[in-house]
């Protein structure tokens, strides 16, 4: 295994992607930017699933979980973008700091 690509390589790559997505979620004021950060985080989780599936031997379980994550990401993006467009129609902005109407 010396010198080859090991499980740790993929885990660290997933960690870097997760941290970039988390930074995106924390610092963006644009709601669409926050959704993009969430998608980066989900992809980082998928890399971990597939890396464990590849190196751990049980291949199909991890791949099926990854497919479910992709499916849920699609549903989440559809609903999230619909909500964002509805907010934009009403308030003319999607700045998350400005959408405080529900808080009274």
């Amino acid at each position: 295994m010396s010198g080859g690509i090991t499980l740790d390589h993929f885990l660290v790559l997933g960690l870097i992607l997760f941290l970039l997505g988390a930074y995106c979620v924390l610092t963006r004021r644009n709601a669409i930017g926050i959704l993009m950060g969430i998608e980066l985080i989900l992809n980082a989780a998928n890399i971990n699933y597939l890396a464990f599936a590849y190196f751990g031997g049980a291949r199909y379980d991890g791949q099926i979980f990854a497919i479910f994550v992709i499916m849920l990401a699609a549903a989440e993006a559809v609903i999230g973008l619909a909500v964002i467009l509805a907010i934009y129609q009403n308030l003319r902005t999607i700045d998350v700091d400005a959408t405080e109407t529900l808080s009274g």
Binding site: I5, D8, L15, L40
Partner: protein, 182 residues
């Protein structure tokens, strides 16, 4: 398979592309650049999937993520015009706070990742996965598979209901406009 020099070169190449585009997504001031950089990041992740011998998942990633979600995101960016991150000085959480949070979390997770003795299979066999994935979906995972189709149907109807402009009772646009301007 992943021990050869070519595999290492391919891995580092794809990883560099992925991390570079993801950094562009996270740090770009312009939301349109972020949306297009997301295409590169997700394509790089699909390359990582292929390197992990998950051909079917990689194709699903390209079809659903790059072909569906990113196009939807770019549509939303274009439809909500004039929303580029204008007030950069007034962020939800400052860059310093964000960096400190992810540095702390990253240090903890990196330590945990590298110190844990992961269970590794003795022998890694690589073959086409479509047959096995399809069998698992219609065998052990048939109930989650059906529930997933229900979730997709619910999200489809929900998106239509949420984003529809109500012709009967329009929202009080004046009050919200005043609220935004003040």
């Amino acid at each position: 398979m992943l021990n050869s020099l070519a595999a290492q070169i391919i891995f580092y190449f794809i990883a560099a592309i992925t991390v570079g585009f993801a950094a562009l997504v996270a740090f770009s001031r312009n939301i349109v650049y972020s949306a297009f950089a997301l295409v590169g990041a997700l394509m790089g992740v699909a390359g990582i999937y292929i390197l992990l011998a998950a051909d079917f998942v990689a194709m699903v990633q390209v079809l659903l993520y790059v072909g569906g979600i990113v196009v939807l995101t770019i549509f939303a960016v274009m439809l909500t015009q004039g929303i580029g991150d204008v007030a950069v000085s007034n962020r939800a959480a400052g860059p310093v706070a964000g960096f400190s949070v992810i540095a702390l979390a990253g240090a903890v997770m990196l330590y945990a990742t590298l110190r844990t003795p992961w269970h590794l299979a003795a022998k890694i066999n690589v073959s086409a996965t479509t047959y096995g994935v399809g069998n698992a979906f219609l065998g052990a995972y048939v109930l989650p598979f059906e529930i997933a189709s229900l979730v997709l149907l619910a999200s489809l109807i929900g998106a239509v209901v949420i984003s529809r402009q109500d012709p009967v009772a329009p929202p009080p646009a004046d009050a919200s406009a005043e609220k935004t301007r003040s």
